[in-house]
Assembly symmetry: C2
Homo-oligomer: 372 residues x 2
């Protein structure tokens, strides 16, 4: 039964922390591996392995006594996961799914091969190779691997920008004329059952490519919402996904949907599901990988999710700002407890719930003033 | 800030587990002490101390590197907590509060001294001493200390029952003519701010004195509900409580409220607050003991909370029963992951939410059929 199952998570950041939060509800034992001994998850389990999830030996060693292995980041060793799978461990999402997604160009080709509309892009080997694509500028340059939260993404406006470009394998994407960015979290289990959360609208900070805030439900035409969910379900089936998948999409100015990026794990765009949905994305992931029935994804109420980034202003007066924030009715603080300092990183988020969208917008304004 | 605060919990059962769940939301480091190496909390922290919370030396050692110490059970060493308090540690609830409450007769005298209506009762030394109170039978005999979940409680109908009575210090209480049992969770912080949750109605199993199910909000007259909340607030003030307190009360057939028992910690009657209230009782406890603003206690929707007790029927087919339960929309499973076996103990609970009370009652019926 549940209490005898040993679950392992590769990656020990805030997503892992929120997953442990929900693993407690099912009485599960969770082991975590992260290369940082101070990772947020390190203190939330009796079974923490300080090692790099990209190391073959470390992942193999980590998995040997586990029953089910999952991820909270894509930068993990696929060969070790495949070997564990061969040994009879359940690895969800499967190594094949992670492999397709962890490389942004392979991901794009996979989607194209399944007739999923994507942002057009070219594979470039390095900085030199970029010269060949001068005529494609302006464009968005993304590292093929290991990018996250805006790290590994830059806009190249003209040929002059190539000098400062990443000098490693990248994808050069067309700069799409975006009206909205949306995201759908979809879950699928071993029996092929699929459930989608309704799309959320995401607003990114302009300079940093990091999610600023997110609104659920997305205020868009019903037909677009349905199309987005249908695409997410189609991708989950194509990947033979077991677990959850975030599908980030662009809605273009002419109302076309293009898939931007996939993440086969809990995602920032689904944080609101903890307070606002019947089943959170974290519980849904556990249900999916443990062969339990998928939970209902209905929203209880509208919500707004704001990321809290580390800034000098916040650091100067953090205790008082968080006190003020906790005093707002319906503002749910998630503070990640990260050690050390690094300006710009995500250190927490707030989910705001209210019975009306107007109430939420007003609270969000108050919170922005507090945090800035 | 929050991530540098070290919190300690005496007791590592399911209440501690749910407290850790909410400590993750605030990025806190939590240490736990329990005498059972297999306690549910043992696997949810990197800092588990296997020792008896009733041991002076163990509690003193446990507390020496902590900032704030709280409890999830009353059977803890008060002298050690007082010493830690003298050393400048924050101990919430205070050792004085725990001391008054951990002895059921002292608790009753304290309430009487503050003009709180209680169930009338006498202190008896042991089985022999009970002979003096033959004329008070039938009555309810409760051990003064260490009772929980129906352990340490029995009804004595006639003098013949004295032979099987507990042979230790007890309280012999009048058998009150009860119409309803209700409970109020109240929180109070160091600044004297007080917030109550609305009363819930509790239904106990007849043979076992263990909570069977609980309904929020209690379906009672507004005036009774207000009186119950006023009593809870008065008690929290009288105790100079810092933390949370469950006040279990009887509503008699002539609509009088009598306080039955207090518990200065998260309580079974407040489990529903995780899903059904803006702020859960666990988050509220953390807010109260960390000097953060108390959260709003409003209910989002009506709810029903059913305890899951270990039975032969459940054990025979547990995986399938839990699968069926997880398939019910709005049924939130909390499985405690207890090791070993013992019939009758609490192994989990289910909180059912729905927009209407009718919807909840119908789901509760389905769940009872599954679990039985």
């Amino acid at each position: 039964m549940l209490e005898n199952l040993k679950i392992g998570i590769l990656g020990g950041g805030q997503l892992g922390g929120m997953l442990i939060r929900h693993a407690i509800d099912l009485g599960l034992s969770v082991s975590v591996m992260d290369k940082d001994a101070n990772a947020p998850c390190a203190r939330h389990t009796s079974s923490f392995f300080c090692a790099d999830p990209k190391s073959y030996e470390a992942v193999l060693e980590f998995g040997k006594d586990l029953d089910v292995i999952t991820i909270e980041m894509e930068a993990v060793n696929i060969d070790a996961l495949s070997e564990l799978q061969k040994q009879g461990k359940k690895v969800f999402p499967s190594p094949d799914t992670i492999k397709v997604i962890q490389d942004k160009f392979t991901q794009k080709q996979f989607l194209l091969s399944h007739n999923i509309p994507v942002v057009p892009g070219e594979a470039v080997e390095n900085k030199d190779d970029l010269q060949r694509y001068e005529n494609k500028l302006p464009g968005c340059l993304k590292k093929r691997r290991n990018g996250y939260d805006g790290y590994g993404v830059m806009v190249l406006k003209t040929a002059a920008d190539i000098a400062k470009a990443f000098d490693e394998p990248c994808v050069l994407e067309e700069l799409v004329d975006i009206k909205h960015e949306i995201s759908v979290i979809v879950a699928r289990n071993e029996h092929g059952a699929v459930k989608c959360y309704d799309p959320v609208m995401m607003v990114f900070s302009e300079e940093k490519f990091v999610l600023d805030f997110q609104v659920a439900p997305a205020q868009l035409d019903e037909s677009l919402l349905k199309e987005a969910n249908a695409l997410a379900e189609k991708i989950a089936d194509a990947l033979q996904l077991v677990g959850i998948l975030a599908v980030e999409m662009f809605v273009t100015k002419d109302n076309k949907i293009l898939v931007n990026e996939l993440a086969p794990r809990p995602h920032n765009s689904g944080h609101h599901t903890i307070e606002a949905s019947i089943t959170s994305q974290y519980e849904q992931l556990l249900r999916a990988i443990l062969g339990l029935p998928l939970g209902a994804t209905d929203l209880h109420f509208p919500s707004f999710m704001l990321n809290i980034l580390e800034t000098e202003g916040l650091n100067a007066n953090r205790a008082e700002k968080l006190q003020q924030l906790l005093d707002i009715k319906g503002a749910h603080l998630h503070w990640y407890g990260k050690k050390g300092n690094r300006l710009g990183r995500k250190v927490g988020h707030v989910t705001i719930t209210d019975s009306t969208m107007e109430g939420i917008v007003s609270k969000a304004d108050t919170i922005r003033k507090i945090l800035n």
